[in-house]
Homo-oligomer: 321 residues x 2
């Protein structure tokens, strides 16, 4: 019985770790990308992500184009999380035989739109039939200076690149059946066709020299757990520093839900979270939300400090659409 | 309704072809691998393959280790088909939640065994739950001199690297229910854990300077159709030159089936088929089976020449397990 994605990954890593790593492999399992030293001053970045109907998306409210766009965005996000530029992607597509060919056209149009926007190309793939729609993308990118999950130090500031909470809010609106999606257009759009941070090299890597970086695919708290776990560290987040979108305020007022829970535990946001010895940001889209400490996981409300629990996504415990 | 894998791939290629290719991309959709010019005299090779329960394998006669081994072998074969050396692979694994963790261990042991044998490393991946077992592998390899499917010329000799027909024979034995698999051990093993040709650079690329190369994943006739299609060519195969294994002779005698059909139309063989201006082979495992012509598809029995039809696998028409 498999009920924990992270212990599954540990299990896999232990089977694989017995084998000799090929020359040039700098980082294997355990980061957003595998990193290979090309030997010419550049590093190859490799990542892969699978999207499965009724696990990662629901055809009742996602168009084929949305599915393609989002699957590509999730992969590009992994390259960005290492400070890299995407180069090319391969797509494995499995479809029910009764699927209409226009579905394929729309799916690839969505993928291609996202790919072209970020300067990469769909360069190959595989096709098969299946009972459900399955899209697996594998991506290759390059960088001269990879940024890893590990490397954060006690005292570093923690930055995020965008509003968080929108993707989960958008999902809940889409699944509710009775909330008008036009009331929450930004959140719905962020869930279906996530926008990604742009110009990572100029805006993050150069000015901040990040000590660690990760993309927010499982929620801020979950990502901080990864970053701190690699160095046996902790963190404290400032409640007042967390950016809250107008739509989250409106939604939580309407439903009585807790805005902070959305902001800290929303998956599939695909913003970046990074740590740096730089204290402040002059970029409006890059926000300091706290700092790395020696242990623990806390949130500060004024003078009050509370524990934080990790409620990030676990693909084996719950549907993550 | 999708019923033809090749027209689906053409459709996908046409959606993607509208976009600008990134600098360095030498070959996109349409070969065993995408090819990227690393700019240092080497080329990166990229491929991906999806394996789905009840489409590509059947748990009633495939062990988890077999599934892993074969999925990895199929990917390595794509790198070999471009004359390259595999470097690393990423694995997307989707499993039913009720799956036992020992299944995961065995699956990865099989993948890893095949990877280690051919000098590459499993360097990352993704996990998800699903209703069926799904294994998607994406692979990266390198070469200094990629060999493409295109490039064959009229008059070139056609070579294969191994017996063909065994994988299909093995599959039929496994699915029969009443044929003892111990009577056909080589064919059953070739279907479950395909052996790959070794030392491609020294044994093929250097002595033969292949004008084109492809791996036999869909059958000899199907692969020749690809090779000839890119150059508007034809071919003639010599019946007497085709190697026939003892097990095929025994099986066809037992069942009344036609050995040539097995040899020409057996998929998932993962040997190599290549063309060359070199006429003969002194390597017992590399066999000249015919030559490229200006048009048509023929087989010669003594003085008689017959048409050949393409009965290769089509993943949307039939189960290919």
């Amino acid at each position: 019985m498999i009920n924990d994605e992270w212990s599954l990954i540990d299990r896999i890593a232990s089977v694989v770790s017995d084998s000799p790593a090929p020359k040039g492999l700098v980082k294997g399992i355990g980061d957003d990308c595998a990193v290979y030293n090309n030997g010419d001053g550049t590093f190859g970045l490799f990542s892969t992500d699978i999207s499965i109907e009724n696990v990662h998306f629901d055809l009742s409210y996602c168009s084929a184009s949305d599915i393609g766009y989002k699957a590509m965005a999730g992969n590009i996000s992994d390259i960005f999380a290492m400070g890299g530029d995407p180069v090319l992607a391969l797509v494995s597509l499995a479809l029910p035989v009764q699927c209409d060919t226009s579905f394929v056209d729309e799916l690839y149009s969505g993928m291609n739109e996202c790919a072209v926007k970020h300067g990469l190309s769909i360069a190959g793939g595989d096709t098969s039939k299946s009972e459900k729609v399955i899209v697996n993308i594998s991506i290759y990118g390059k960088t001269t200076c990879p940024v890893y999950r590990s490397g954060a130090r006690s005292g570093d500031s923690i930055f995020i690149t965008k509003w968080n909470g929108s993707s989960r809010l958008g999902l809940e609106v889409l699944r509710s059946g009775d909330i008008d999606r036009n009331m929450f257009p930004v959140s719905v759009s962020q869930h279906l066709r996530p926008s990604l941070p742009e110009d990572i090299g100029r805006r993050i890597v150069k000015p901040f020299s990040p000590t660690s970086m990760i993309d927010v695919s499982d929620g801020i708290v979950s990502e901080l757990t990864h970053i701190c776990g690699t160095g046996n560290l902790g963190y404290i987040i400032s409640h007042d520093a967390l950016p809250v979108s107008d739509e989250i305020v409106k939604f939580c007022k309407m439903t009585g839900k807790n805005a902070i829970d959305y902001i800290l535990n929303s998956g599939e946001e695909y913003g970046l979270l990074f740590t740096s010895s730089v204290d402040t940001s002059t970029d409006d889209d890059i926000i300091c939300i706290g700092r790395i400490t020696e242990s623990g996981a806390f949130i500060q409300y004024g003078n009050k400090i509370s524990d934080i629990e990790n409620h990030g996504f676990n693909h084996f415990r719950e549907y993550d659409i």
